[in-house]
């Protein structure tokens, strides 16, 4: 049976369009990564990881920024994870069919996509303005708020994936519900929850907007969480905005480190997830 020419052409056009669209997406990915890695690799030096951010016109490194970012991410995980796991547990276990759980699930998804700059403003109003100064602690708090919904969501999803027969087996042994959750369900969901936390870390590692008015930046070495704290994203932001070539080079090096970290973490997580599926 012959297909009319116009229909066949429409089909070929759709085929070409879909292929072109995918190529379009992949071209951007390649272009962005290629530029970041080429410019960044050229700017990589050993002193990058040992020296402090320099004043304009001289060379230096980003050690203080890497340290500050690491500390704030760690603190955000310490603050955000317990709350997130607890809330996710409620959504999947005790509260599974309650109205509260439905509402929290809904609001959590909105927080997941909420503009991160508004979270920065929120912590500014809540912490920075009251304290009267920027601080690494405020920065960590705003990162924790961004991490929280990610942890809530993954905890909820990974607990819901566990078959109810596992819960019933625990109850049949006479275990109270909290022990079933803690000793059986958390064990079964552990790798999935960890995956979620790792993805959350990858996300907050690059967050810049919420740190602009909370941690700000610090050109010098400081480990004081109650004072402005250097961090990689804001260093990149300020150096990109500056007119100095040395700072642009350092910004590319920082971008390279940041992108490599985030991509490696993402790939690692996918490998873990795939292994979990097979095992």
């Amino acid at each position: 049976m012959a297909i009319r020419a116009s229909r066949r052409i429409a089909d070929v056009v759709a085929f070409v369009f879909a292929t072109a669209a995918t190529t379009f997406g992949l071209v951007w990915l390649t272009w962005i990564l290629w530029m970041t890695f080429r410019q960044g690799a050229a700017a990589l030096t050993p002193s990058l990881f040992t020296q402090m951010t320099p004043p304009p016109g001289s060379s230096g490194g980003i050690f203080n920024a890497l340290y500050g970012s690491a500390v704030m991410i760690l603190l955000a995980v310490v603050i955000g994870t317990p709350v997130g796991v607890a809330a996710g547990t409620y959504l999947a276990e005790h509260g599974r069919h309650t109205r509260l759980a439905a509402a929290v699930s809904f609001i959590n998804d909105i927080l997941l996509s909420a503009p991160s700059i508004v979270i920065g403003l929120f912590i500014y109003e809540l912490v920075v303005r009251r304290a009267g100064h920027f601080s690494g602690f405020a920065g960590a708090l705003s990162l924790a708020i961004i991490l929280l919904p990610i942890v809530v969501r993954t905890t909820q999803e990974s607990l819901l994936l566990i078959p109810d027969t596992m819960r019933e087996a625990g109850f049949a042994l006479g275990l109270p519900r909290w022990r079933v959750t803690r000793q059986i369900l958390y064990k079964a969901a552990m790798s999935a929850i960890l995956t979620g936390i790792l993805l959350g870390i990858a996300r907050i590692a690059g967050e810049t907007a919420p740190l602009l008015f909370t941690a700000l930046n610090n050109q010098f070495w400081s480990a004081n969480l109650n004072a402005p704290l250097a961090n990689l994203p804001v260093v990149i932001f300020q150096y990109v905005m500056s007119p100095y070539d040395e700072w642009h080079t350092l910004a590319w090096a920082g971008a390279f480190v940041l992108t490599a970290f985030v991509l490696l973490l993402n790939i690692l997580v996918r490998l873990i997830a795939r292994k979990g599926k097979q095992g």
Binding site: A10, T22, Q39, N108, E125, G174, A255, L258
Partner: protein, 325 residues
């Protein structure tokens, strides 16, 4: 939880010791769940509270006036609002068809073994930090636009009736068009992920019957897949819109931080998020700071509405497909 387990839970317990701990555990977890709600309310309230001075001083003029004069103390947010809407619109015009194309490619066209890797590559677009997009946009993409794309646009389209004013002006590379394109690239993975998921959830018999009736692939997409997944696709588009409206770092560098209202997409402009990022630490008066927080309040309310619509549409679809969340 099924009926058997529920009955066992309600049955009297020989030992009472578990009950107290159970109650505590439930209190802790439900407290954390409440915290999520309180957090969202807290963000909205603190934005409203921080912006009250600006809203009280300017009233509706805060939204309708294009004057943003830090020295004179007049703040009207029309330019950032306009810039936010225009750049987000450009982003969606690019991202929606591309995402549908990617989803079609991944569910229908690509050889099976390439689907996983390509899908991961598209997802990685969402993993790249937005500051990297911004930096690449400023140092690589804006010069590219200025050298190759914008001169062509203003030569060929700048003189036309109706759309001419959109593409006139000097090709400086920084402006709403460049920012919109960068935003478009950023939201592609979000829309494409949902599109791919719902495309592959279209029941096979539906598609197969269309094919059996002699439909081409294009006709299956146009008359079966897209109508079947319509509300999910609209949800996905709103999700992308919510992301585009609030994106900060990717557009701050390439928008140009200008407070002039201009019809041309090639001219520098501003967006709500970019204005806050650029000016907040420089805001030296209470009114200035309050105006920026008021901008944050507007952004939060608008993205809340857009994301709620997205979530409601996607929830409905999930229910149809028989999933619980």
């Amino acid at each position: 939880m099924n009926a058997t387990a529920a009955k066992i839970l309600e049955a009297p317990r020989p030992k009472k010791s578990g009950a107290g701990a159970d109650r505590t555990f439930e209190l802790i977890t439900s407290g954390a769940a409440w915290f999520v709600l309180v957090l969202l309310a807290g963000i909205a309230l603190s934005m409203a509270w921080g912006g009250r001075l600006a809203f009280k001083t300017f009233g509706w003029r805060f939204i309708t006036s294009p004057d943003w004069d830090a020295v004179g103390g007049h703040f009207g947010a029309l330019v950032p609002i306009y810039g936010t809407l225009v750049t987000s619109a450009i982003a969606l015009i690019i991202a929606v068809p591309v995402s549908i194309g990617i989803a079609l490619f991944l569910t229908d066209i690509a050889p099976r073994w390439t689907r996983g890797p390509i899908a991961i590559a598209i997802e990685l677009l969402a993993a790249i930090p937005s500051i990297i997009y911004g930096m690449w946009g400023l140092f690589v993409f804006a010069p590219f636009m200025a050298a190759h794309v914008e001169p062509w646009l203003s030569d060929h389209l700048g003189g036309k009736a109706v759309i001419g004013p959109l593409f006139s002006g000097p090709p400086i590379g920084i402006g709403m068009l460049t920012a919109g394109i960068v935003l478009g690239i950023m939201v592609i993975p979000f829309i494409a992920a949902v599109a791919r998921e719902v495309f592959s959830a279209v029941p096979a018999p539906l598609r197969e019957s269309a094919v059996a009736l002699g439909s081409t692939r294009w006709e299956v997409l146009r008359h079966v897949t897209l109508p079947y997944t319509r509300s999910a696709m609209i949800g996905a588009i709103f999700l992308g819109l919510g992301r585009a409206l609030g994106e900060t770092m990717a557009v701050t560098f390439v928008l140009g931080n200008a407070h002039d209202l201009s019809a041309s997409l090639l001219m520098p402009s501003n967006s709500i998020a970019a204005a806050i990022a650029n000016e907040f630490t420089e805001a030296d008066t209470d009114l200035y700071r309050s105006s920026l927080i008021a901008l944050g309040f507007l952004l939060f309310v608008v993205t809340f509405i857009v994301l709620s619509i997205a979530k409601l549409l996607l929830l409905r679809v999930n229910k149809q497909m028989g999933r619980t969340h």
